[in-house]
Amino acid sequence: MLQQLEAPDHVTEGKIGSMAAPVSMRQEASPAIPSAVRVERIYRHRLPVRISHWLNVPCLFILIMSGLQIFNAHPALYWGDRSDRDKPLLSIRPMRTESGEVKGITTILGHQFDTTGVLGYSNNSGRAFPAWATVPSTRWLAMGRQWHLFFAWVFVINGLLFAAYAVISRHVKRDLLPTGRDLRQIGQAVKDHIALHHPKGEEAKRYNVLQKIAYLGVIFGLAPLIVLTGLTMSPTIDTAFPWLLTIFGGRQAARTIHFIACFSFVGFIVIHLSQVILTGFFNNMRSMVTGWFIVKHEHEGVQS
C-alpha cells in the first residue's frame, strides 16, 4: 500500500530545474518501482514561504501550550458573555469520589468522563492539562500569559506579512486556489488519501486539491479566527470593536471558539506531520529548508 518515495541519498544530483540522469534502483529495496526512474529537482518553496513556515513552528508550539496553561487557570468553557458556573459547556476538574480518591473528570455538555492521569488530575496534582502539555510546565498563569501574548504578536505579524506576500506574489492564485479540475477530482482525492496513495511524478509537483483546501482553510480561515477570537477576549479591543462580541456570540463564546480553533490547529498539525512523514520525510524537509524538492518520474519520456 505504502509507495513511499525513496530517501534522496539514492539519487544522483541533477542540474537545477532539469532532468537528472536515470538512476537504477536497487531491486531488493523496492521491487514495485520500475528499474528506470528519472529524477527531477524543482524549486518548490520560495524563501519568504520557508521563513514564515519555520517561524510558525515555535509560535504554534508555544501558543498552544501556553494557551493550555492559561486555560488551566479557569478550566471551563461557556457560551454567551458571562460564565454561569453551573452551566459550563466543558469543564476539566479534579473531583473527590465517595471513597476519597481524587479523579480527573472531564464534563462535556453534561456528560462526565473519567480522564484521570491526563485531564483534570495528573501526577498527583489537580490540573486540567498535564505538565507535559503546558508552558511553563508548572502552574504559572502570569508567565503563561507572557509567553502567549509575546508569541501571539510574532504569529500575527508573521501571518500578515505572509498573507501580503502570498497575495502579491500570486502564490495564492498560482499554488493554493483549487482549479476547476481540482474541484472535480475531489472525490477521487479523498479516496486516494484514505488509501494513503499519494500523488507521484508530475502530479507531485503541485499541491493536490485537499492540500490546497487545507492550507487555504488554515491561512485564511483558522488563523484569522483564532486571532480574532483571542482579541475578543480583550476588554479594550471589545470597547474599540464591539461588533466582535456580536459576531462571536459574546466573550465567553469567543473563548470557547478560541479553544476549539486551538484543537483544530492541533488536528491540522497532526495530519500535516503524518503527511510529511508518509510522503517522504527527508524530501519534504529539504524542500521546506532549502526550497528544493525531488520528483521521481517512473516512466521515462512520458512526462516532460
Binding site: V135, S234, T236, D238
Partner: protein, 256 residues
C-alpha cells in the same frame, strides 16, 4: 523488507518528534527561569499598550448590558475580607467613618467621606468583569466618576499615574494596591463604585468603595480603596511594578 524499514523509520521519526518536543518544553522552562528572557517576553506588553491605545478612541465605552444579563452570582476573587482591626471597626459602623484621600501630585488634596461621595452625581453601568483567569461576570455598578473627583483635586501636569491604596492585606501581610494612567481616570466609565446590583457593596466585593476601570482586566479593579495618590513614577512604590499582581509578574497594562 521495505515495510519493516519504513515502519522503523516512522517509529524513529515519531520518537524524534516526541523527544524534540520534550527538549523544547524543558528549554521553555529554562528560559522562563532565566534572568534575561522574561524581560524580552515582557516587551509585548508595551507593544500591546501602544497599539491598543492607538486604535481605541479615548471616549469609546465598554459594552453596557441590560438588567437581564446580570450574573446571578458575581464571584468575589482575591482578598474577600480585609479583617484588619480598623476595617472591622469601620464595617461595624456601616463604613460611616470611611474616607478616601486623594493626594500626591494634585493642586488641592481632598479627603472625601463616603457620604460626600454618595451625594455627588452618580453613574450606573451594567458591565462585564473579565478576570485574568478567564471567566466573566456581569454586574450593575453605581459610583462617582473619577473624572469628577479629579476636577476637584486638579492633578498637576507631571502626574502620570494614579495609585489606589487599599485596606486589604494578603495572608503574608502584603497590602493590595493598583495603579492606572491618569488619562484613564477621565474615561466616563471609570468610577469609584459604592453599589453593586442596587445594594451597597458587600465586603467580598470591596465595601465600601472599589474602582471600576471597565476596559481592563479584573485585577485592576481595586477593592477597599482608601487613598488615591497621584505620582510621576511607579518606581519606589512597594514592588515598583504598579500593583499587587503586577509585582508578581502580571502585566501592568491589562487590556487583554
Amino acid at each position: 523488507m521495505k515495510h519493516e524499514r519504513a515502519m522503523k523509520r516512522r517509529q524513529f521519526l515519531k520518537g524524534t518528534l516526541g523527544a524534540a518536543s520534550l527538549v523544547a518544553l524543558a528549554g521553555c522552562d529554562n528560559l522562563t527561569q532565566s534572568s534575561w528572557f522574561p524581560g524580552i517576553l515582557n516587551k509585548a506588553e508595551k507593544l500591546t499598550d501602544l497599539v491598543q491605545r492607538a486604535i481605541t478612541p479615548t471616549t469609546a465605552l465598554a459594552k453596557e448590558y441590560s438588567e437581564a444579563d446580570i450574573s446571578s452570582i458575581f464571584p468575589a476573587n482575591g482578598n474577600t475580607d480585609p479583617s484588619t482591626q480598623t476595617y472591622v471597626e469601620r464595617a461595624g459602623q456601616n463604613f460611616e467613618a470611611w474616607e478616601v484621600k486623594i493626594d500626591g501630585l494634585v493642586r488641592t488634596p481632598i479627603s472625601f467621606s463616603l457620604a460626600a461621595l454618595k451625594e455627588m452625581p452618580a453613574r450606573t453601568q451594567i458591565t462585564r468583569h473579565d478576570c485574568v483567569e478567564g471567566w466573566s461576570a456581569i454586574g450593575k455598578w453605581t459610583g462617582v466618576p473619577l473624572g469628577d473627583l479629579m476636577h476637584k483635586v486638579q492633578p498637576l501636569p507631571n502626574a502620570k499615574y494614579a495609585v489606589f491604596h487599599c485596606a486589604d492585606v494578603d495572608d503574608e501581610g502584603i497590602a493590595y494596591y493598583e495603579s492606572m494612567a491618569v488619562q484613564d481616570l477621565y474615561h466616563p466609565q471609570t468610577i469609584l463604585a459604592y453599589e453593586l446590583n442596587g445594594d451597597p457593596l458587600d465586603i467580598p466585593h470591596g465595601a465600601p468603595l472599589r474602582l471600576r476601570f471597565e476596559r481592563q482586566l479584573g485585577y485592576k479593579q481595586a477593592k477597599y480603596v482608601e487613598r488615591i495618590e497621584l505620582v510621576e513614577s511607579l518606581a519606589g512604590i512597594r514592588g515598583g511594578k504598579g500593583g499587587y499582581w503586577e509585582d508578581q509578574g502580571y502585566e501592568w497594562y491589562a487590556g487583554i
